[in-house]
């Protein structure tokens, strides 16, 4: 029962984050904003629509959305919600999680190239580049957790005796910050990408989905929400582990952490120049290395 609750909560988080982002943006802009669940209505509408396929595409293009969604679903099954255990949990599942998400990315990149469109080719190239650059950050983040906690399974990593430990708190907050930053890149948000732009020449993720419609597009969007929920929940877990390790604390935290920070940044900041994105993403990786180093020093229990 607890296992099912875990998956259910992950889905709730995935569904609500976009709503919170939209609402934050609306409030910041002084607007009334969309209905809170508008993104869900939109996807329901897409689900009712048929797909249209270009003659130049192959089976690769048709399979990709399913692979993308499947990978995202598998990923959420591996994420614990604070004290609830996930369905899939084994030694080393952090590596498995990282590469399940990489599989999703590869599928969508191949599909974009399959269309033969010059826009989508550019989008695929950008996605591959930023994907490759953010991967070290993700693995370093997991490595920090694994090294500091001594486990390689997400479910075990966040289990921690409920006593205040300064070193543990510092590392966990740093890791939480890292994962929130990674969320910006992975879910294609400002300043890296802009999901609302109508300009194909500047898009990264959106441009790869230009040829999709109906059911396929719905699957891609749902998978995007799930991916965002994964990273957000890891960050929330890290914070929850230091103070209040209960699912009823971690779930709202995951929603608000990403929802508010993404909404705030998107309201007040402009997007990066595309050539600066590389620097931005590499900086996240550098930050991850730094956090790993800090974690290592703290684990040696030097006096700070």
């Amino acid at each position: 029962m607890a296992i099912l609750l875990n998956t259910l909560l992950m889905i709730v988080v995935a569904l609500l984050i976009t709503g919170v982002i939209n609402r934050t943006r609306a409030v910041m802009a002084g607007r009334k904003g969309l209905p809170f669940f508008q993104h869900i209505y939109n996807v329901r509408l897409l689900l009712c629509k048929d797909s249209v396929y270009s003659h130049t595409t192959t089976i690769l293009f048709r399979v990709a959305p399913a692979v993308y969604l499947a990978a995202a679903v598998v990923a959420i099954l591996m994420i614990p919600v604070a004290d609830l255990y996930p369905i899939i949990s084994f030694e080393g599942d952090i590596i498995c999680l990282a590469y399940t998400l990489a599989l999703a990315r590869v599928a969508i990149i191949l599909a974009a190239m399959d269309t033969g469109s010059s826009f989508e080719g550019m989008g695929a190239a950008r996605e591959a580049l930023y994907g490759a650059l953010i991967e070290p950050a993700l693995l370093m983040g997991f490595a920090t957790l694994a090294m500091f906690c001594g486990y390689t399974s997400l479910a075990d990593i966040f289990e921690h005796e409920q006593s205040f430990d300064l070193h543990y708190t510092i590392v966990m907050f740093l890791v939480a910050y890292l994962f929130v930053t990674i969320t910006f890149v992975e879910s294609g948000r400002v300043p890296v990408d802009d999901p609302r732009t109508h300009l194909e020449l500047t898009m990264i993720h959106e441009v790869m989905c230009l040829d999709y419609c109906g059911m396929d597009l719905a699957m891609i969007q749902i998978a995007g929400w799930l991916k965002t929920a994964c990273f957000s929940m890891i960050a929330a877990n890290a914070i929850a582990a230091t103070c209040c390790f209960h699912w009823w604390f971690a779930v709202p935290l995951a929603i608000l952490l990403t929802g508010l920070s993404v909404g705030f940044v998107e309201s007040t900041q402009a997007r990066n120049k595309l050539s600066r994105n590389t620097t931005f993403v590499v900086t996240i990786s550098a930050l991850a290395a730094l956090i790993f180093f800090i974690g290592y020093l703290l684990q040696l229990n030097i006096n700070i």
Binding site: M122, P191, R196, L201, T268, A270, R271, K273, L274, S275
Partner: protein
């Protein structure tokens, strides 16, 4: 070289007063003259006259505030190629290309002889919009990206072909002509003055007031009527309101394109306020129906004057905040500065006009160089000049012009007593026969030039329209060279050129 020298306020010129010269002499003169910054060509076109093709050229002298007219003729069956001026002064390309397209006049050693807009009666029927000869570069690491002609959003059609090396653009070629409606021919196809006025308003929807004002001036010159001071004041207010609205809209559009939400929503609201002010005045948000020859159907009343003053003051105050916000936001500066640079020398060579030219340090402003209306007496206009030529300078020029326009509207309307006796529009007065009249107006994009030539019965025989976009599209192509392709949208928005103003 013998030119007929006039200025922007001179009434119609009799055709026989325009000196007819030899092309060779004109060529030799322009060769030297156009190399100087003070000169540029307002219009250069050919038109059939009995059994000849007569060419007219209007050269503007910005320093002396004069326009110099000359003409030369060619027999229909002369098939000598004229030496091309484009080869020396690229700014002439658009005129020579148009002449070639319409009348099959060859220009010798013309470096860029491409179609302009595929009119129905073009000489080469084999050249169609689908076979536009795009420039291409071969290379293993290069790829071409085609955008358009159908716009993915809501604006007008145009085909953009990029040659890219990875993310960076080596070359951009812009092919237009998809909206060619034959506007110039329509002017001479009807004698109905009202109809012609409506046509002028529809040349480019976002410059309705500018084009209608230019048309009204042209017709007034031909009919020998001088617009009253009150009429010119109201026209100037309308034109400055249009300038404000469009500059604010583009500030918002630039914010949208870089994903800056606060700038976007603020400017959208202010732009709505501005065009609603115009609507409250004349019933149309874009000022259609407001500008009419020799009179007005919508004269200002005291209540409307106060409403405009109040709104403009508030818009200026709020827009100033947005401007300060943009200027102090590092993420925006990182996007706009050093992006899409057009150097002053390039701008001058390609004949850039208007606010885009001023952002590159090139002073092209009809309000100072060839003043008309209120700028001839009431207001001493100071052009806003920036030197960097990047997106940020174009944005800054826009920002400052909005505030400047607001100031002008304030100056014009403070103490302006709406007149009870504003004349009604005049659609009847006969035009001077065998004459040429031209008029220059600084629209929000830049210099607008209309030229009308009447026949012996006083009907419009030839009407030529020049929108600033005709020159500035090339500036956009230069701006994106070496930029990342993803910066094309903000470069494009910083110019915001007209498709239908070019296609006519």
């Amino acid at each position: 070289m013998n030119y007929h020298i006039v200025d922007n306020l001179t009434s119609a010129i009799r055709l026989q007063d325009i000196p007819q010269v030899e092309y060779a002499a004109l060529y030799e003169d322009l060769k030297v003259r156009l190399a100087q910054e003070r000169y540029h060509v307002a219009h250069y076109f050919a038109t059939p006259e009995q059994n000849r093709l007569r060419f007219y050229i209007i050269v503007l002298d910005d320093a002396d505030h004069k326009a110099m007219l000359a003409s030369f003729a060619m027999e229909y069956y002369d098939d000598v190629a004229l030496p091309s001026l484009t080869a020396l002064h690229p700014a002439m390309h658009i005129f020579e290309r148009e002449i070639t397209e319409l009348y099959n006049v060859e220009f010798d050693s013309m470096p860029w002889n491409k179609p302009v807009r595929f009119p129905f009666d073009r000489r080469n029927r084999n050249s169609t919009i689908d076979t536009y000869p795009f420039y291409s570069i071969e290379g293993d690491s290069l790829h071409e990206v085609n955008v358009g002609p159908i716009h993915a959003g809501i604006i007008e059609p145009g085909a953009f072909r990029f040659v890219c090396n990875g993310e960076s653009v080596l070359h951009l070629e812009i092919a237009l002509g998809y909206q060619h409606r034959g506007v110039e021919q329509e002017f001479s196809a009807t004698d109905n003055r009202l109809r012609q006025t409506l046509l002028a308003e529809s040349i480019a929807g976002d410059s309705a007031v500018s084009h209608a004002t230019t048309f009204a001036h042209t017709i007034e010159k031909l009919s020998g009527k001088t617009p009253s001071e009150a009429l010119e004041t109201e026209r100037a207010v309308a034109l400055e309101l249009e300038r404000m609205a469009l500059h604010i809209a583009d500030t918002g559009a630039l914010s949208t394109d870089v994903g800056y939400q606060l700038g976007q929503v603020a400017c959208e609201a202010l732009r709505t306020m501005t065009i609603n002010t115009t609507q409250a005045w004349c019933g149309n948000r874009f000022g259609k129906g407001l500008i009419r020859p020799s009179g007005s159907n919508k004269p200002l009343t005291a209540a409307k004057r106060d409403m405009i003053l109040k709104n403009v003051e508030e818009i200026a105050r709020r827009y100033d905040e947005v401007k300060e916000d943009i200027k102090s936001s590092p993420t925006l500066l990182a996007r706009f500065e050093q992006c899409g640079i057009v150097a002053k020398s390039d701008m001058q060579r390609i004949g850039g006009v208007g606010m885009a030219a001023r952002a590159s340090g090139l002073t092209r402003d009809i309000r100072t160089s060839h003043p008309y209306g209120v700028f001839a007496d009431k207001i001493r206009h100071e052009s806003i000049i920036k030197r960097q030529g990047d997106v940020m300078s174009r944005l800054t020029v826009r920002c400052n012009e909005v505030l400047q326009s607001a100031k002008y509207i304030g100056e014009l309307l403070e103490g302006y007593t709406p007149t009870e006796s504003m004349p009604r529009p005049d659609y009847e007065t006969a035009l001077a026969p065998d004459s040429l009249a031209f008029s220059l107006v600084e629209g929000w994009r830049g210099e607008i030039c209309h030229v009308a030539i009447t026949d012996s019965e006083g009907k419009i025989a030839t009407y030529k329209v020049k929108d600033p976009s005709l020159h500035n599209w090339l500036a956009l192509a230069l701006a994106v060279r070496g930029e990342g392709i993803s910066d094309f949208p903000i470069c494009n928005k910083s110019f915001n050129l007209s498709y239908c103003g070019y296609d006519l």
